[in-house]
């Protein structure tokens, strides 16, 4: 898992245009403090819609600390992935901005 995360980060860092769909899962962590990965997306899998570039890490900015730049992505989820059978229409989508350190790559052909 760590290895796949590094691979995604490398691909993103090189700034190459991603031609294949990169599937990612939002890490299912529940750390204390200010984070901007909404709880309802944690553990959910989506695809990277676009890379947004590096932005100051809000987990440090929120406390007035010097902030590292973290790559930020727009990740697209289906409503079926988020809400299961309760989704109004499974194919509707939700896009959210998630920092790289909250994402782990999911292999295309996961078992």
């Amino acid at each position: 898992m760590v290895r796949s995360r590094i691979r995604m980060t490398c691909m993103i860092m090189t700034g190459t245009t991603m031609t294949r769909r990169v599937r990612v899962r939002v890490r299912a962590l529940m750390p204390p403090g200010h984070v901007r990965a909404p709880a309802y997306l944690r553990g959910k899998t989506g695809v990277i819609e676009r890379a947004l570039g590096p932005f100051g890490n809000p987990e440090q900015l929120a406390y007035g600390l010097p902030a590292e730049k973290k790559p930020l992505y727009r990740v697209r989820f289906t409503m079926a992935e988020l809400w299961g059978d309760r989704a109004e229409r499974p194919e509707d989508t939700l896009d959210a901005e998630i920092y790289a350190h909250w994402l782990e790559e999911v292999p295309d052909h996961a078992p």
């Binding site: 947004l52 109004e88 229409r89 989508t93 901005e97 998630i98 920092y99």
Partner: protein, 229 residues
């Protein structure tokens, strides 16, 4: 008839006018509650900054003025330009912040993404974590945008929410909800209403409402404009 006061036969003076404004609505209560911690903090920090010469009261007032001067009319002008100028529309979808700056809007360091409504897809903007909104372009967000009800329901049941706004989209239209969770802000580029061929940019802008740029409504149609006079 809450605005009429002639249908009673008591003869005391000024009946019923306690608590109601001339338009028949209750007056807002005086805000006599003690200041909150953060209100005291704001006043203390502001006074210190002025006292130490970092800023001035006039600068603070000018900044408030600037915030108040920003309105959905700015966004409407951007949308109308995109409806009439395909090259501008392409630049807007590529980088909405730069395209807005190009039109002369002073939007600060805003990172703006425009999402386009098409025959296949309808976009809706929400900020579930707080109330992120493209204030630099559209002005202050409506109160409902900041409520827990809108913030939680827009991502879970956007179709039900849109129906409550009077917008019933066919099942063939995909809804794309955008949760403004970090550094980007969003504006919906609605589809240009039918029957507006040959309209000027200025006239088109009158059709673009605030809600149509959040995604909870469609732009006004030439027919509704005609009805409204």
């Amino acid at each position: 008839m809450p605005h009429d006061h002639h249908d009673h036969d008591h003869d005391h003076d000024h009946p019923h006018d306690h608590g109601l404004s001339p338009s028949g609505h209750p007056y807002r209560q005086d805000d006599d509650a003690p200041l909150t911690y953060w209100q005291r903090m704001e006043i203390a920090v502001r006074e210190l900054l002025i006292e130490k010469g970092v800023t001035t009261a006039a600068e603070v007032a000018a900044q408030i003025d600037l915030m108040d001067s920003r309105s959905p009319a700015n966004g409407a002008a951007v949308v109308a330009r995109a409806w009439t100028d395909p090259a501008f529309k392409a630049r807007l979808l590529e980088n909405a912040g730069d395209a807005s700056r190009e039109m002369g809007f002073d939007i600060g360091p805003l990172h703006l993404i425009a999402v386009e409504n098409t025959a296949q897809a309808h976009n809706l903007i929400v900020c579930t974590l707080c109330s992120c909104y493209p204030r630099n372009l559209l002005g202050l967000p409506p109160d409902w945008y900041k409520t827990r009800a809108y913030r939680s329901r827009a991502v879970r049941e956007p179709r039900a929410v849109l129906a409550e706004f009077g917008l019933n989209l066919p099942d063939s239209t995909t809804i794309r909800v955008h949760d403004s969770t970090a550094d980007m802000r969003y504006i919906v580029l609605p589809a240009r209403p039918a029957g507006t061929d040959g309209w000027s940019e200025v006239d088109l802008a009158t059709l673009v409402t605030r809600d149509s740029m959040i995604g909870t409504a469609l732009p006004r149609s030439p027919q509704t404009v005609a009805q409204d006079g």
